[in-house]
């Protein structure tokens, strides 16, 4: 499990851990049943406070993303398909709202954003296809 922590970021470190683990779980990089590193070893690796890791794990447990049992460790919880999908949607929706804020700031009307999105999608499909052909 690879996490990137930026202490000087405006987001508290425990929240950075929570968000990144949620993302790893939603994307399937962390699978149900997989064991997370112990609080102590993650704190050592990232050179951050073990209390911070403990808080992140607690939050993840409350949210049902992980389960932990004393002595055994912390494990990725099993999520059903629909939860996993709605989690992915909520991750994506955060990015979309960033996009909308930015386009609003630049004064680009929503209609134009829609058109740009379709254009980007077409270009993306082309590049995907050419990769498949090359492969």
């Amino acid at each position: 499990m690879r996490l990137f922590i930026s202490p000087t970021d405006g987001i508290p470190i425990y929240m950075q851990i929570v968000q990144q683990i949620r993302r790893l779980v939603a994307s399937g990089e962390l699978e149900a049943g997989e064991e997370l590193p112990s609080i102590r070893s993650l704190a050592d690796t990232l050179v951050i406070n073990p209390n911070t890791v403990a808080r992140a794990y607690r939050d993840l447990e409350t949210a049902g993303v992980v389960t932990s049992s004393r002595g055994l460790g912390t494990f990725v919880a099993a999520t059903d398909q629909s939860t996993a999908h709605s989690e992915r949607r909520s991750l994506l929706s955060r990015k979309l709202s960033d996009l909308l804020v930015e386009s609003n700031q630049m004064g680009i009307p929503f209609k134009e954003v829609q058109e740009m999105l379709i254009e980007s999608y077409e270009a993306f499909q082309l590049s995907q296809n050419s990769e498949v052909n090359r492969g």
Binding site: P7, I13, V47, N49, N51
Partner: protein, 297 residues
């Protein structure tokens, strides 16, 4: 209370007419890392000297492990692992002599742990402390501060002038200390990124007064940097309640804001202004907002 490692009430200290500590109230609970930050001369070291019992309270009260450190220096100092910027090591000693001497002084000395640290830090037994590099000397000081497993690890600007590798050793030591149940760290530094990396709680001291004392995560969640754009050019920074620090010119201003950003909206509407962007802040930015002074309306 058993859970308070340090308890300071209305502590006052004056140097001549200068008030170094002005009715400081401060507590440190067991099991956390507390980052003490402030400009040079703000009062950090004076506060630490009171905790170590090196200064007697002019007025007010200091309790460390529940006792007055001036009245019981041996009892208090034998439980505090202390590392300062200077290091305060006897430079004429060899590393092995330092270890032997410290082992005799501290009842809780753990020879195995000392050996592990010595290896990890690459300190050879017959090196004279005086001939070590600044970084190696800091590591030797760290070894002594850690190897008796102190209840309180007290680091006063430990990273000043050290390279990133040694600084990481120091931070790792902080983390290992706190990972052992029931141990506590007080860490003063002007390298705020380090403080942000390891602290549970941050206390900011400015001109002998505590201006900020909160859990780091709370601080992160209640301060914002907000970019604003006004309809007309603002000759001076607008005076809005909750603003800590302004930067900008003309129509574009940036404010460091504490509290709910929504609260800005009514006063902004009056000034024909709007929020362009909002993000969280680093401790550095909060520090400058409190200590920088400039651009306040």
């Amino acid at each position: 209370m058993a859970d308070l490692i340090v308890e300071i009430k209305d502590l006052v200290r004056t140097y001549g007419r200068h008030s170094a500590l002005d009715k400081v109230n401060f507590t440190l609970e067991r099991g956390i890392v507390l980052g003490l930050v402030g400009q040079n001369g703000a009062g950090k070291t004076t506060l630490i000297k009171h905790i170590l019992g090196l200064l007697r309270a002019e007025s007010g009260e200091v309790r460390v492990f529940g006792v007055d450190p001036v009245a019981d220096p041996q009892g208090v100092l034998s439980r505090i692992g202390y590392l300062s910027e200077e290091g305060d090591l006897p430079l004429w000693m060899k590393v092995e002599e330092l270890i032997r001497y410290s082992a005799a002084f501290y009842p809780g000395w753990d020879p195995k742990y000392a050996e592990t640290l010595q290896k990890q830090f690459g300190l050879s037994s017959d090196s004279k402390l005086g001939s070590l590099s600044k970084g190696q000397r800091a590591r030797a000081g760290l070894l002594v501060a850690l190897a008796f497993k102190p209840d309180l690890l007290l680091l006063d600007e430990p990273s000043s002038g050290l390279d990133p590798v040694v600084r990481k050793d120091i931070l790792s030591a902080v983390i290992r200390t706190i990972a052992d149940e029931g141990r506590t760290v007080l860490f003063s530094s002007h390298l705020l990124a380090e403080v942000e990396q390891v602290s549970d709680r941050v206390v900011m001291i400015e001109d002998g007064r505590i201006v900020l004392d909160d859990e780091l995560a709370n601080i992160k969640e209640s301060y914002f940097r907000i970019d604003l754009r006004f309809g007309t050019s603002q000759p001076v920074a607008p005076n809005l309640e909750g603003s800590l620090h302004w930067d900008g010119v003309g129509k574009d201003w940036t404010v460091i804001w504490s509290g709910d950003p929504e609260a800005l909206t009514p006063s902004l509407t009056k000034l024909d202004g709007r929020i362009v962007a909002k993000r969280g802040v680093s401790l550095d930015e909060i520090f400058v907002a409190y200590a920088g002074g400039a651009s306040k309306p």
